[in-house]
């Protein structure tokens, strides 16, 4: 699969999403929850960029802000050279055709009172009201066939389908307008292992066939390794590391990435490896640590880390125009 490096389809620059939090008293100042705090990346055509991190690290918020389903507090989202930051619903509508989303809970994201034919057709009917009913149904059947659903099930309701099939319905709905970007928000984490593999293969197949770009949000590092071209590691709304898949997994630079990768139990009893076990829990994003947000759980943290937030710096060892960026002061002292 070749990735066109020249044309970023989506550019995100210093994106911040902050939520005001009511502290409950009249006299104290309201606090802000910094869900996403200065994230920048580019997504190219035909590429899969994965966003990984623990729950509460802001990965879903990032996905929604990229699609402008949530308005960002600061920063820019640029869609094919045109800024879409702060666009109103009406201004966004024509662009929605090109950017779609798949949600985590396959059944909850489908209206139980609509047949799956109606569900899959809905985006098409909204954006192309001129299409005749017959043409719509033809397109729906065609799309059902592509995602591996039997077209004769078009009149059934979501509850008649299993989790994996519901996710296929969600994918068909996202695909029917032939978008250029799909944000996949934990699309397989609610599914059984054998069904997970089916859906991952389907996404890969669709990407090849239609040249889709995917922003793949997941907490499962094994799946991410399988599906991505590039991976971005998020911690408390900040990018810790972003790199090509193989660079990231073969030589993770950031201590958080190293811990994340080593925490995944390998499905092989012969490699009962010693894990880097992080102490403690994720700090609250309302009161993040000063300086580097990861320093409270980091093995290498010292005085310097609490002063100022580290910038993302380039540390590529190989590669031509791809970059391996890390936000850490201590990369020199940490061995791979």
């Amino acid at each position: 699969m070749s990735v066109n490096v020249k044309v970023p389809i989506l550019t995100v620059d210093n994106l911040k999403v902050h939520f005001p939090v009511d502290t409950g008293t009249f006299f104290t100042k309201n606090k802000t929850l910094k869900a996403v705090d200065g994230v920048s990346f580019q997504l190219h055509e035909g590429e899969t960029l994965s966003v990984v991190g623990e729950s509460g690290c802001g990965k879903s918020t990032l996905g929604r802000a990229v699609l402008q389903l949530l308005h960002n507090t600061d920063g820019q989202v640029v869609w094919m050279g045109q800024s879409i930051t702060g666009h109103s619903v009406k201004e966004m509508r024509p662009l929605r055709k090109q950017m779609q989303i798949i949600f985590q809970d396959p059944l909850a994201s489908l209206d139980p009172r609509m047949t799956i034919g109606e569900i899959i057709a809905e985006p098409l009917v909204t954006h192309h009201p001129e299409l005749a009913g017959k043409a719509v149904r033809y397109r729906v059947r065609e799309m059902m066939d592509i995602v591996g659903l039997l077209p004769r099930m078009i009149n059934r309701y979501p509850h008649e389908f299993s989790g994996g099939q519901c996710q296929r319905i969600g994918i068909a709905r996202a695909m029917i307008l032939q978008p250029r970007v799909i944000v996949c928000d934990e699309p397989v984490s609610a599914l059984d292992v054998s069904i997970q593999a089916q859906i991952i293969n389907l996404l890969g197949e669709l990407q090849q066939k239609f040249g889709l770009s995917l922003l793949f949000i997941s907490h499962d590092l094994s799946i991410v390794r399988h599906i991505s071209h590039r991976v971005m590691v998020l911690y408390l709304g900040n990018v810790m590391e972003i790199a090509d898949k193989d660079d990231l997994y073969n030589s993770p630079k950031h201590p958080y990435t190293q811990a994340l990768i080593s925490a995944v139990p390998a499905p092989d009893p012969a490699v009962r490896k010693k894990r880097v076990v992080l102490k403690g829990d994720l700090p609250s994003p309302i009161d993040p640590p000063s300086g580097c947000v990861f320093r409270t759980r980091c093995l290498y943290a010292d005085e310097q880390c609490s002063q100022k937030k580290p910038d993302l710096v380039d540390c590529s060892t190989s590669g031509l125009n791809r970059r391996h960026q890390v936000a850490c002061y201590k990369i020199e002292t940490i061995d791979d």
Binding site: G164, S194, I200, G204, A266, V277, L278, G280
Partner: protein
């Protein structure tokens, strides 16, 4: 009887009466577990893996019933009256559940939920019980246990709550701990902490652990023996090494191959088992896995496969064990297009 055997389950069957007829959730389950060993139970949702152990604990839903025998420390615990059962469960037999938020009582402080167990089962005084609770919270790695014991469950994070659950389960130093998906709801870094903790505790207290999970990675890193379930039956058992290096049943093989691996080959498609996990209410004829199995023959569609024992504790239930697929290398490529099963 061997003194080393802590739990022996013989021919356990679990049935549920539903408006649509009887559902057989677990059938002809037999296994033994030795002292200090850990057993992994793997299967997809609806394979009956949880129901076996809910039956052992006497926690089946009202419409459920169980037959068979479960000898725990020389006593059959199936069908015991509640008062008798209460002398066993929570004392020498404990269980932890998947979701720590729903299994702790949100209205009661952790201290109350912990001391209750000790006062009831061991006749301790309030003060002794509190001391013991704090000690246990420290053992499972809760910082400032003396302060935090007086908090409510919502004041703990997910990983901390799961630790509290484990602490409660361990209060009476059980001989057997049943962990039902203990880390599924947790992040990987917290999962690593909990798995390490269970490992340490197993060595320290010499307990046996049953780990119910769908994550083969957890099994590989934790367990000595594995039991694979499909459609309410055991399809394969064996030591963890044997099962991972030489899986006999096509379902086990498919499961192992369909796992995306963090340490493996990443440029090919994943192997995907076609079709859907079976509905227990409408199991297929013959072998339950037959509609999804690429080696199925007419025999598989007619008769349920017998269980073949290769070694002590190494079994598989499949008609095709001797056939070609065991000598050839497993199929890598997917069927071109997966069309989902009939509805």
């Amino acid at each position: 009887m061997n003194d080393n055997i802590i739990l022996e389950v013989k021919n356990l069957n679990t049935r549920f009466d539903t408006p649509d007829g009887e559902v057989a959730a677990a059938n002809e389950i037999s296994f033994t577990l030795k002292k200090g060993e850990s057993l992994g139970v793997v299967g997809e949702s609806g394979s009956g893996k949880t129901q076996i152990f809910m039956a052992l604990m006497g926690l089946l839903a009202k419409n459920g019933k169980t037959t068979g025998e479960a000898i725990f420390k020389g006593q059959n615990i199936l069908g015991l009256p509640v008062t008798e059962l209460n002398k066993v469960r929570g004392v020498s037999l404990s269980m932890i559940f998947q979701d720590p938020m729903t299994s702790l009582n949100p209205y009661l402080k952790v201290s109350r939920q912990m001391t209750e167990v000790l006062i009831e089962h061991q006749g301790m005084s309030q003060k002794e019980a509190l001391e013991k609770s704090i000690e246990m919270l420290e053992l499972v790695g809760i910082p400032e246990a003396r302060k935090r014991v007086h908090m409510y469950p919502h004041e703990f994070s997910g990983g901390m709550r799961q630790r509290v659950m484990i602490a409660i389960a361990l209060l009476c130093e059980p001989n057997l701990l049943i962990a039902d998906e203990p880390t599924t709801a947790l992040d990987v870094t917290i999962q690593a902490q909990i798995l390490d903790l269970l490992h340490d505790l197993k060595d320290k207290l010499g307990m046996s652990i049953v780990m119910i999970t769908h994550d083969l990675g957890v099994i590989a890193s934790m367990c000595d023996h594995v039991m694979v379930m499909y459609g309410g039956r055991v399809v394969e058992t064996g030591s963890v090494q044997a099962l991972f290096s030489d899986a006999k049943h096509p379902y086990t093989r498919g499961l192992l191959q369909s796992m995306p691996r963090i340490d493996g080959d990443h440029n090919e498609d994943l192997y995907a088992i076609p079709g859907q996990p079976p509905n227990l209410q409408a199991l297929p004829q013959g072998c339950a896995f037959q509609p999804r199995c690429q080696y199925a023959t007419d025999l598989c569609q007619q008769e349920r496969p017998p269980t073949t024992e290769f070694d002590a504790g190494r079994t598989a239930s499949c008609h095709q064990l001797s056939s070609a697929f065991h000598t050839s290398s497993p199929v890598k490529k997917n069927p071109v297009h997966v069309v989902e099963g009939v509805l």
